[in-house]
Chain length 154, copies 2
């Protein structure tokens, strides 16, 4: 199973990248982070920005992939429930799962409607680079839960 | 107002520390991180461990401080609600707020009962060092919300 993370902005050389890479190398799924960047977006209002971001997401979304949108208003799962979700997609022969994280203003409604699942990492607003780190850690944690590895203590 | 964070374990030189310090220096409240360490805890079972941790927390808790316990089963707040909570304590002349994060097995029931507020950062289990970073970022975000600074976009 391949996991694709579509996200706006750029890690550059931040400490977030160090943490992200640390979890990435422990994960046995193939994981690809695609960093998206809108051109000439400075003068757009919030709705137009989300529209443009939506286009860019759709252009980068592989048609045979499950889509999981991350949105504060989505459903929350605990780590064991999240592991079950990933495992079920795998058992049902889904070969690709794409997680999409919105830009500063969140995701366009079109993406929310298209998603197979809309999930939330919690009610608090996280910086977008921190959200990526929380997500990759949960994917790693899910793998340890599925494999019964002691990383996740109940 | 002084904010004290009581937490088990040690940042050492991890990337988590880089992120924590980055938010710390932007916060105008006085914030103190007290890293607690149990001696000879290797052979304790989960209940005994939480008991010993509880003692250590109580020994480090200043008697004139509000106590906020972080626990997965606590109440969740969004970032604006959390800012209101901090602001209200400040307006009510609370001079100290102590946040306490449990060890790997969570907090002893005695601490939960003693706390003025039990809050959760979300349903997912986070590594304890990541929880500190999420907490300090939320404290910084709360400050920007209270001061109407544009860091937090609605």
């Amino acid at each position: 199973m391949k996991i694709i993370i579509l996200a706006f902005g750029n890690f550059n050389n931040s400490a977030y990248k160090v943490l992200f890479d640390e979890f990435l190398k422990r994960i046995s799924y193939k994981v690809e982070l695609k960093e998206l960047k809108l051109k000439n977006s400075n003068n757009l209002n919030s709705e137009l920005l989300k529209n443009k971001e939506c286009e860019l997401i759709l252009n980068n979304l592989e048609s045979d992939s499950v889509l999981i949108a991350l949105d504060e208003k989505g459903r929350q799962f605990d780590s064991v429930e999240f592991a079950k979700i990933l495992n079920n997609y795998q058992l049902n022969s889904s070969s690709k799962i794409t997680f999409v994280l919105g830009g500063a203003d969140g995701l366009d409604q079109k993406i929310i409607s298209k998603a197979n699942l809309v999930m939330s990492l919690g009610k608090m607003t996280l910086p977008h680079l921190m959200a990526r780190v929380v997500l990759i850690e949960q994917i790693y944690r899910a793998q340890t839960i599925i494999k019964n590895h002691p990383y996740h203590r109940v």
